[in-house]
Subunit: 305 residues, 2 copies
Amino acid sequence: MAVLVPPDQEPLERQHVLRLEVGGAESNVACGLAALGHRVAWVSRVGDDPLGRRVLADLQGRGVDVRGVETDPDRPTGVYFKDTGPVGTGTYYYRRGSAATRMSPDLAKACHARLVHLSGITMALSDSCADLVAEIVVRRAVPGATVSFDVNHRPALWRHRDPATALLEPARRADIVFVGRDEAETLWGTVKTEEIRDLLAPAAVIVVKDAEHGATAYTADGGEVFVAAPHSRIVERVGAGDAFAAGYLAAHLEGRGPAVALRLGHLMAAAALATGGDVPTAPDRAELDRLLTLDEEEWSTLRLG
Amino acid sequence: MAVLVPPDQEPLERQHVLRLEVGGAESNVACGLAALGHRVAWVSRVGDDPLGRRVLADLQGRGVDVRGVETDPDRPTGVYFKDTGPVGTGTYYYRRGSAATRMSPDLAKACHARLVHLSGITMALSDSCADLVAEIVVRRAVPGATVSFDVNHRPALWRHRDPATALLEPARRADIVFVGRDEAETLWGTVKTEEIRDLLAPAAVIVVKDAEHGATAYTADGGEVFVAAPHSRIVERVGAGDAFAAGYLAAHLEGRGPAVALRLGHLMAAAALATGGDVPTAPDRAELDRLLTLDEEEWSTLRLG
């Protein structure tokens, strides 16, 4: 998806120039994984138009395999605008009837991977997109793949349906589920992280993110690990959750435990928080690996950005 | 409508920054008329969003009365992207379900004016928008107003309907109709300007534009006036037709004859051709008025920009 981003902190309505970038939950995660050295493909649909070509070229330039992306001759590439303000970032979507809204369970056939990552944003795009998510997360259409699901509740996309019910099933059925404590409270009225764990308990790994405080991973064996987020500079929050997921999933693919995975998630999120775009410049992998080995005290006093 | 414009001649798909401007056929004409010193109001619908506020502030800053514009709490402001290339400018619309698509004949009640200008683009947005155009152009819902109609054929907006039939009736029923010779050929197979005159003959004034060659006005009394376009620098063509209409209509409102009106149309179009945005910086009115009084030979050797 193409994203138009204000170049400074002034409101969108007063801007005269916008940066043209690429964003979207799943593609952000794909870029993060590629930046961390993993082989990754993004499967979606774009329009046969300049913004679609721009999205493909950008992702390819970041090392993401886009050969499975379908080009739609009749429907446009999705677009959204960011409005960066002091009380958070407003997002204004232009994706009604976009090429991506026509994703359907057929796309699952194109997936061959050790891990498939999906988000609640894709579910919200259309009924056929929701079917695609169910096909992969619930009906396990990609044989042998670990399935990761980020709840990613975007109220603006759910105006005419109930997200609480729709998002609960894939969240429970995933192998790894990511959810913000705040969004879980909005969706399901859960206040404490333990309540979220109990609600989503069938999921093998439940990662509850609590903004700048830190994140907790609950594992199927009853394990619980909390890792505090390092202090970091915040320019703009959109994309930080996706970067966190990329870091966590990279560590998971590398066979590391949840404590290291949470750290790598935080480090990637910090890089995203420090930029106005959705996808951060890839931090140096060797430096990231060094930070993963800090002792507890060094980690707790870490300041980034 | 908000417009995203590449800042240079590179293709849209390779741009990293876009200019955020305001465009759209009727609002461009309104800006042109305001720049020429006329009282003008733009009546439309925008979303309750930053791009809608930007459109209103921009038009107001150009002297256009926007008090009659409705703000829609549920639908977004329309957007389009320009892709400036060597073989013309591509336009990519994001206005499916936009606030403006919900314009309906009710809006005609808000109009009190000596002259109302509409375009075929508005007709293409939705059935209710087409009804609004019919209400004003065919059923004359604005009492006492001269009705001006620019055919403004945009193939991308007419994929599922036949523009040839839809655009013919308002073109014939207007008091002043603007049409490009090329677009008339595409729509109706007319090759010569006289054929267009015969086809649209019920219209009181028929203005046929022939790109950079010039334009012909056919009047109800059988009059025919051709005025050659002055030589001018061409940066980008979108908006030139709207600027032409603004110039012609300004002269008409000032009680001048078709020869002067065609000249003022050409001068405004030249200003639009010299800019990448839809709405040109207003040329100095005193200088324009001086150019309107040039003798034939001086006009024929005029070079602008």
